[in-house]
Amino acid sequence: MSHQAAPAEADARMASLSSGKNQRRSRIPQIPLHLMILPGLLLVLIYNYGPMLGLVIAFQKFVPARGIWDSAWVGLENFRYVMALPDTMQILRNTIVIAFMKMIAQLVVPIIVALLLNEVRKQWFKRSMQTMIYLPHFLSWIILGGILVDILSPSEGILNAGLSWLGIEPIYFLGDNHWFRFVLVASDTWKEFGFNTIVYLAALTGINPTLYEAAIVDGAGRWKQTLHVTLPGMASIIILLSVLSLGNVLNAGFDQVFNLYSPQVYETGDIIDTFVYRIGLEDAQYGVATAVGLFKSIVSLTFISVSYYLAYRLANYRIF
């Protein structure tokens, strides 16, 4: 972040939200604060932590007809089973590469679009843009999958028609291992970037207008204002969303991959979730699926904790 470059006001804001040692208010009663949290806490304990007891399935040869109490315990067998599959390394690699590329794209694209939208002065234009970019979010991958097969077709697709107009050989986007991951990342970004854009736009509304006025007085142009006022103003939300997205390091997007992949791109496109799904087709294997889920959760938790801790130690900033 362009932290040092920020004008004094923005700096002060960052400081005030990162540390509050100078603003003790311990005389304020705390009971109401606990009370406010209580209903949500209870609901979470019942409906989120309650089912977590069921994670014991990960250590069972779980058979639905026997239930959780009577299924056989197998220790770490389910984890061992997954690790011993001949494809595990390939699948893990695909998952991480795809998920990581998606994380980057989902971080960068929405920021750019939000900044560009912020430059738009015509309210009707801005509003309709905002609505339109959010629309793909409402269509399922089953629908979008069918549309993408058409658009990306090497023989008849509009994209390849455009490429051949530029003198480029047609590309078999969905059937070529060199391209498949990019198609996944690009189409995922296309479907979901509107969501994060909205969050950033909301963050932009919170920036104190006096900061801009001050910057203009200092002779800053639009670009400098963006760099020194707008971006620092979004900083805390950007950090938050990036850290939370680390929770998805092993989620490459089941619905999307499932609807777009095919045997010819298993090599680069088969991910943990699609493989677990296919294992389950043979025989609903809840034990294995739960073990995989648990593994993913632990990895995510590790990533998030480490970044939380680092932010706290290095910048004295609590991400959430």
């Binding site: 058979v63 007809a65 239930g67 095919s262 045997p263 043979e282 809840y286």
Partner: protein
């Protein structure tokens, strides 16, 4: 649990008393006579006075006797998109009324879910432990329930309570009873089809054959020649080379889940290869069809066809629906599939182009040995099971008997049949929770319709057959629309069932031999093995070296395939 049996003595006495009609009606134990339905209706008032009788009457006539007083039992329902006449619901309709009137059974649906999520909902229900009294499950769930000891041993009940007609149904399913038997005990009632309905069919646009003066296919070479002509000789006459000779979708095989059109079983069978099927080798051992050398020949042929542009270059990313767009747009002339393909997906081809004349042909062979169409080991849509502590386990058979009688007994009056089958286009029969059927019903429809068309006499047809007859008649008289056409191409004189009929009379069909639930190693390894298989086959078709096949075979064996083969054979030895 065995309460009904205690009442046997009392039952025989009571048979003489108030409810004489119900008992005597079913004296022959086979089926009710035509007056039965009316009798049941008029009898209701009498029954109400008789509530103290226990379930004696039900015992007096094990197959059709009514429960007095009535009983209530629970089930769960996995349904299709159902339509209801106004006032009718899944909980109250023609069938629920008939069940109460005839058998004194009130069925309560613990839940109702649409088909796609049925397995999920069933699994959470099984896991949470609140099983209904009687319900339908799939093969895997049946195995789990049987092993967990959660379900009732139906062996004796089946003997005593199932009507001869219903027994006939169960016996006529392919391997149905065997697959329901565990340690010699019958743990479920199998409802489903003979697998002949799933035999591969070769669909070709006859109008294109005629146009290009091509003969009907007799050998695989003919098939390839036709595919070539459909691709290169502009069968649609638009001056563009935009048509394909052979349909293919990315799942490759029907057994692989999903596609019913543009699949390869029939093609492979032409080379005496049986993908994903367990077949007997000359030594009598069971072997996996996908790894036999004949597969390699067939794959090499497909590769050649793909290279020559006879197959859609992009088949690898298209599912059935997407591939069928080509057919609907008049750009595809041939494909292997299932007997119902004119109903789906080819009906749209006809709607777009009334000249499109998809015709079913028998699959053909590469040499002088006739091709054997492969079918799955069994085709059971539902295994009906009873919870082990259900109060009235025998009620399952009474309900099955009733359905069998009202829907399949020739003595059932037509209006009663109709009332319980299809009214104003609404499929009333689907309301019944435990449907059974004559496993070769569709073939019978074909036979009867053809006979009626020849004799110009439809009087012997049941209403369902009459529907099929009218569709074919409309086509004969030249007034048929696309819908009439699509049914005629299934049940009519030259319909897909004439092909299946040929398969059956010439005894060509080759069922997969393994019908039990997945073995332990299948559960563990099949996902990996299937992935390898699909990946290899797809790549070979698209141009990879055919010798990849040999590597696939040795990998398949190494990565668990040999173990699976052992398990399948030891199962075969003990079954």
């Amino acid at each position: 649990m065995l309460k009904p049996k205690k009442n046997v003595a009392a039952a025989s006495l009571l048979c003489l008393s108030l409810v004489v009609s119900a008992c005597s009606n079913n004296g022959d134990g086979n089926q009710a006579n035509p007056s039965n339905d009316k009798a049941a209706n008029s009898q209701t008032t009498g029954d109400e006075a008789n509530t103290s009788a226990g379930n004696a009457t039900s015992e007096a006539d094990p197959q059709f006797g009514k429960y007095e007083p009535g009983i209530e039992l629970t089930t769960v329902r996995v349904i299709d998109e159902l339509k209801f006449a106004s006032g009718e619901t899944i909980d109250s309709n023609q069938w629920t009324r008939t069940l109460e009137e005839r058998l004194g059974i009130k069925v309560k649906n613990n839940w109702v879910v649409k088909k796609d999520q049925g397995q999920e909902k069933m699994n959470v229900t099984l896991a949470s432990g609140d099983l209904p009294d009687i319900f339908g499950v799939n093969a895997t769930q049946l195995k789990q329930l049987a092993e967990a000891g959660e379900i009732y041993d139906l062996t004796e009940l089946y003997e005593k309570y199932a009507s001869p007609l219903v027994k006939e149904f169960a016996e006529a399913t392919t391997n149905g009873l065997a697959a329901s038997t565990f340690d010699g005990k019958l743990m479920a009632f199998p409802a489903g089809n003979a697998t002949i309905d799933n035999a591969p069919i070769l669909w070709i646009r006859k109008d294109w054959l005629t146009k290009l003066s091509l003969p009907e296919p007799k050998t695989m070479d003919d098939v390839i020649r036709i595919a070539d002509a459909f691709t290169n000789q502009d069968p649609d006459g638009n001056g563009k080379k935009d048509s394909y000779g052979l349909a293919l979708n990315k799942t490759l095989f029907w057994t692989n889940g999903g596609g019913s059109f543009g699949i390869l079983e029939g093609f492979m069978n032409g080379y005496h290869a049986y993908p994903q099927s367990w077949i007997k080798d000359p030594g009598g051992n069971l072997v996996y069809g996908s790894i036999q050398p004949e597969m390699k020949t067939a794959l090499a042929k497909l590769q050649e066809m793909y290279k020559n542009g006879l197959i859609d270059k992009e088949f690898g990313v298209k599912d059935e629906v997407k591939e069928a767009e080509l057919a609907s747009a008049g750009r595809l002339g041939m494909g292997y599939g299932q007997m119902w393909n004119t109903l789906f997906p080819l009906t749209d081809s006809r709607k777009n182009d009334p000249a499109a004349d998809w015709q079913a042909y028998p699959i053909v062979s590469v040499d002088s040995t006739s091709a054997s169409p492969q079918t799955p080991a069994s085709s059971i849509s539902n295994y009906y099971v009873v919870r082990k502590d259900a109060e009235h386990p025998e009620a399952l058979f009474k309900m099955l008997n009733l359905f069998g009688e009202l829907q399949f007994d020739p003595k059932t009056p037509k209006e009663v049949w109709q009332q319980h089958s299809k009214v104003d286009g609404i499929e009333v029969w689907q309301y019944f929770p435990f449907a059974v059927g004559r496993p070769d019903k569709n073939l019978t429809i074909h036979h009867n319709v053809v006979a009626a068309l020849e004799n110009k006499d439809a009087s012997a047809l049941n209403p369902e057959e009459l529907d099929a007859y009218n569709n074919s008649l409309a086509m004969q008289e030249g007034t048929g629309d696309a819908t009439n056409w699509s049914y005629d191409k299934v049940f009519g004189k030259a319909g897909s069932f004439s092909v299946i009929d040929k398969y059956v009379t010439e005894k060509l069909i080759k069922s997969s031999e393994y019908y039990a639930a997945p073995t332990a190693t299948m559960t563990d390894k099949n996902a990996t093995l299937l992935k390898m298989e699909l990946e290899t086959f797809t790549k070979i078709i698209m141009g990879a070296s055919v010798d990849e096949f040999d590597k696939f075979v040795s990998d398949w064996k190494k990565l668990g395939g040999d173990q699976i083969t052992d398990e399948v054979n030891s199962w075969n030895a003990t079954k």
